[in-house]
Amino acid sequence: MNLPAAPNFRAVWAIYRVEMARAFRTVLQSIISPVISTSLYFVVFGSAIGSRINEIDGIAYGAFIVPGLMMLSLLTQSISNASFAIYFPKFVGSIYELLSAPVSYLEIIIAYVGGAATKSIMLGLIILATAALFVPLRIEHPFWMIAFLVLTAVTFSLFGFIIGIWAKTFEQLQLVPLLIVTPLTFLGGSFYSIHMLPGIWKTITLFNPVVYLISGFRWSFYGKADVSVGVSLGMTLVFLAICIAIVAWIFKTGYRLRN
């Protein structure tokens, strides 16, 4: 009796709901604290320092940093949400249930990454709304704005998922976000245009994948970009493809899950 097994949508929903419930249970940590920190960025960079900075590419500095700030939160929150979501059951041992359940790897991914991405997209939109209180905003390409938002959230949630599976300790869980992602994001043009960088650094910075994300995202707001939008989109998709390939390999081999 080898019937083609139907997808287990109920499991996807069950996992997704638990992940969302966690966000609302820890609303202070997952929603309010990013809003506060974003507001602080606006006060410090937008008003205090920003008032001394001229427009960049014809955009007021306060408005210029909005896409970068959203990306900053999107990246870090996607990674931390997804990595924690899969690391925690591994850590306490309750992962046994997930592994013994009739769910496919794809369903596990959709549920966990979907949950993490939803949370960070919501967060991004909250930050956008917060920013609108401080600076006048315009969004020239709303479709692409949403597209970059979703694509980035999904890609970095996948990346976080990989980190969560790879990590054996809480320290390792923090390591990649802290040592790699945060610096790359800060150096990725959140607060400046890469054209403002001196000579060689302009070239070096092109190796930073975050540059492409922020540039593309900023283009969807103001129609101005550091690198062409096609390249931005292409780089994002490449990174997404790399993450998918790694996840596929993890599941094929059972790496750090089914040993």
């Binding site: 009796m1 080898n2 109920r10 499991a11 309750s94 013994s100 359940a101 009739p102 040993n259």
Partner: protein
């Protein structure tokens, strides 16, 4: 009876090179209570984890009700409920949420009445809105069982179910296992509390160092391997066992007040009656006697010891 779980040629070698299982062949019959006995590190949990899909096997195949656990993993896994040894629950979830989550995870449609019944059966209903972290150890164990039963499994694995559990809960659990069996659920329990297997199991398997060294009907096993002992309390202490009784291989206690005769049901050693006649003939009088069967525990210890 047809087998519901069929394990053939299963081996497991961990990345470290440790061979946890060597060629396991085992069939679990539909509706039975099967006790898997073995010392710590024998491979009990590894074997269960393979059947449940938590650990990848190195070779061999497993079917659950005819469904291959790899090719047809959805069908196979949805039949199985697992209560692991460790108390591993998301501490911040409520009892109600976590049990319903388990049901959803296994693809079953929400059924509040059924989940309520499971919780009531396990005396957890009062605690349904409590977070797992606030429960006592025994309550957590009940919660693990509730999660495993939430999706109406046909096969239930209980890995060391009564480790660190108080007497009351242990009895509750035994009662629950019997009820499940009446409903046709197959139960596989691992334990190193032999009394548990002795009280509950239909069949017993003994695993040691990654090998199944014996699978036997419990009653049959006790009959075959069970030994009896007769202890005689003597009226007058004996300095040495008289030569005429040497064929009984009696043991004399330190003070010479007690004689112990060990015999098994199948051996050709002479029976108790002839010993008593011979004692009388030798003029040895005794005040009292008692006999006892060896327990499964003693059988088990002997089996495991025999292994090199």
């Amino acid at each position: 009876m047809s087998s519901i779980i069929s394990i053939s040629g299963v081996t497991k070698t961990y990345a470290t090179g440790f061979k946890a299982l060597k060629e396991i062949n085992l069939d679990i019959e539909r509706g039975e209570i099967f006790a898997l006995l073995g010392p710590n590190g024998a491979g009990k949990t590894t074997l269960i984890s393979i059947v449940c899909g938590i650990v990848n096997r190195s070779s061999g195949s497993v079917t659950v009700d005819g469904h291959d656990i790899s090719r047809d993993y959805r069908a196979a896994r949805s039949l199985i409920g697992l209560v692991p040894q460790e108390l591993t629950i998301d501490a911040f979830e409520t009892v109600w949420a976590t049990v319903n989550y388990s049901r959803g995870l296994f693809g079953k449609a929400p059924n509040k009445d059924f989940v309520e019944k499971v919780l009531r059966d396990l005396s957890l209903w009062e605690k349904k809105d409590s977070k797992a972290i606030t429960l006592s150890g025994g309550m957590k164990r009940r919660l693990m069982i509730a999660k495993a039963l939430s999706h109406e499994p046909r096969v239930l694995f209980l890995d060391e179910p009564t480790a660190g559990v108080d007497v009351e809960l242990r009895q509750d659990m035994w009662a629950m296992v019997r009820r499940l069996r009446e409903d046709g659920v197959t139960i596989i329990l691992t334990t190193h509390y032999i009394e548990e297997a002795e009280a509950m199991a239909d069949r017993v398997g003994v695993i040691n160092k990654g090998e199944i060294i014996l699978v036997e009907d419990k009653a049959e096993l006790m009959r075959k391997l069970g030994r009896k002992q007769m202890r005689l309390e003597l009226r007058a202490p004996l300095a040495a066992i008289p030569d005429g009784l040497s064929r009984y291989a009696l043991e004399l206690s330190e003070g010479g007040n007690e004689l112990t005769y060990t015999y098994d049901n199948q051996s050709d050693r002479p029976g108790v009656a002839s010993l008593i006649r011979d004692l009388e003939a030798a003029g040895i009088q005794f005040r009292d006697l008692d006999t006892k069967n060896s327990s499964l525990e003693e059988i088990f210890v002997n089996l495991v010891r025999q292994e090199p």
